[in-house]
């Protein structure tokens, strides 16, 4: 990931402000008043534009330095970048498949995959994944009555 300089952040902030102004242009006011749903987003938008312009203006002094891309340390190490993507992939897979697969298998597979990706030994990963899955399942599903996605063939677990 590129670490953004004051110049980049300023530009993005001002751009965000402009988008916000555009997106809130059609919000109506309270009946008989000048203020309403659009007042606050427009104020935030103007603040963002002013802040962005200020950041860009103050960073122009060191323009060459500000334009040089700075990469985060972990980007240069593929293993760490994959670990970060793995965490996001685990959440995305849970969102997509938990309802179909059920909580217990999904949680176990997610934990195991992520632990192995982060280089936990196989035995520790299997035991820790199983224990965590069961503790979370019983804690939330049985004690707190949260309807976690169920798996038919594992229904004997409760």
């Amino acid at each position: 990931m590129i670490k953004l300089s004051e110049l980049h952040l300023g530009f993005l902030t001002a751009l965000g402000g402009m988008i916000l102004l555009f997106a809130s242009a059609n919000f109506g006011a309270l009946p008989g008043q000048d203020y309403g749903a659009g007042t606050m987003p427009r104020l935030i938008g103007w603040c963002a534009i002013l802040l962005g312009c200020f950041m860009v203006a103050t960073s122009l002094k060191n323009l060459p330095e500000m334009l040089r891309p700075h990469l985060a340390d972990w980007v240069r190490k593929p293993r760490l970048a994959i670990a970060a993507l793995g965490c996001i992939a685990v959440i995305a897979c849970y969102i997509l498949f938990a309802e179909t697969v059920g909580f217990i298998p999904m949680s176990f597979i997610s934990l195991l995959a992520l632990m192995l990706l982060l280089r936990t030994s196989l035995v520790t990963a299997v035991l820790a994944s199983l224990a965590t899955t069961l503790v979370v399942y019983y804690g939330f599903s049985r004690l707190l009555m949260v309807p976690l996605p169920r798996t038919e063939f594992l229904s004997f677990l409760g």
Partner: protein
Amino acid sequence: MLILEQAAALVFQPYVLGVILASAVFGMLVGAIPGLTATMATALLVPMTFFMEPVPAIAAIVTATAMAIFAGDIPAALLRMPGTPANAAYVEDAYKMTQSGRGEEALGAALVFSVIGGLFGSIVLMTVSPTLAEVALKFSSEEYFWLVLLGLSCAVFVNPGSPTRGLISLLIGLFVATIGMENPSGEPRFSFGNIELMAGIQFIPAMIGLFAVSEVLRTVTATSPRQKIPRADGHGVFKTQWKNLKKYPVQTARGSITGTALGILPGAGADIAAWISYAISKRFSKQKEKFGTGHVEGLVEAGASNNSAVSGAWIPALVFGIPGDSITAIVIGVLYIKGINPGPTIFINDPQTVYAIFMVFILANLIMLPLGWLAIRGARPILSIPPSTLMPMILIFCIVGSFAIANSTAGIVMMMVFGIIGFFMEENGIPIAPAILGMVLGPMLEQNFITSMIKADGDVLRFFERPIAAGLGTLTILVWLFPLVMLLLRRHKAARFAT
């Protein structure tokens, strides 16, 4: 008297006491693990509190927070890795004491003086809050508008770090707060026809994402290797603390007072309190040269300060409904979910709950002594858990916690989105706390601003007509000018140095 009895009945139940004990252990575990903050402990605890009555829910958060902040001293002393940002100020001294075979003395000092600071802050909370609440009852929309703006301004301008990045964070938080239909005209904003978004951003999944998921991502991408844990030195945790208390009474009192005062200031918190107290301790010490070399004096003052700030931060949260730090910002969200509206009327409508919260503060601080001692003795196994095993566990807990709030995967989606945003923000030096304050205070700011503008018929000067509003408004403007004054002072100093 009847109210006190009712409050005691709410607190002294086996269930509530069990919750306090369990959250103390939980706070201790989270705080002792480097990188996991007290705010993260609160964020992870919130899904559990969702299923509790208000008093045990608040008790769980208060206890876990106090315990996590103390427990953060354990990796600070043993590994030179502060468990929470509030422990970072005196990490050098604590670690050097461990290296010279005085690790347990360092941790003992952190524990005892945290308890003293915490108890002091709790007493101030109990005595000041009801009086302030009476004043706050006379507040109108103008006073609340300035008070909210003051809190947001302090979060941006008083904290260390770049004010421009703090402002970006605040604007992100304020924008997130505008999403949905909760606005003066009830018109859907930025929801793109999505029913989940029409109800607004779910605060708890967003907060779990910003604090916990982003921290998991940061830990798995960390490049620095883990350190070895030194063996126990057998000096005893409490042995030298009475001597320290007799030697440093001024430092203890000063740390407790500074911490409470900074805690009360909306937007500041335990982190900044510890740094300022450490600096004050060094400034007025007779042994300035010993600071940073394994000297206990700064640890005594900053240790008392960071825990007293935790209690102090609850004063604006309870009295005005304005959080003193990111933890109380989460607490305010929890209180609203529980149907308790923080603000001066809570002292009239729900006094027994308020007094029960006060009692919980005292209990949480007292329980720290025995549990803290146990944690110091048993910290080594906790610190030995490798992040490669721990982080996936935390991630699954975050997923289930976000799902549990509304029993919907929309919560998990929000958690993931905010986790990525939080990671991006921290990677670019944008603090998360102002965004959280913006999310919590955004609706209050908007409502009071619109009401005041309608009342004033668009005349901004009328925001200064009432005396308290004028005072708060002036103070807010002074906070805005603070960075400018600091810049001019630095330039003046540099010019003098050059000549």
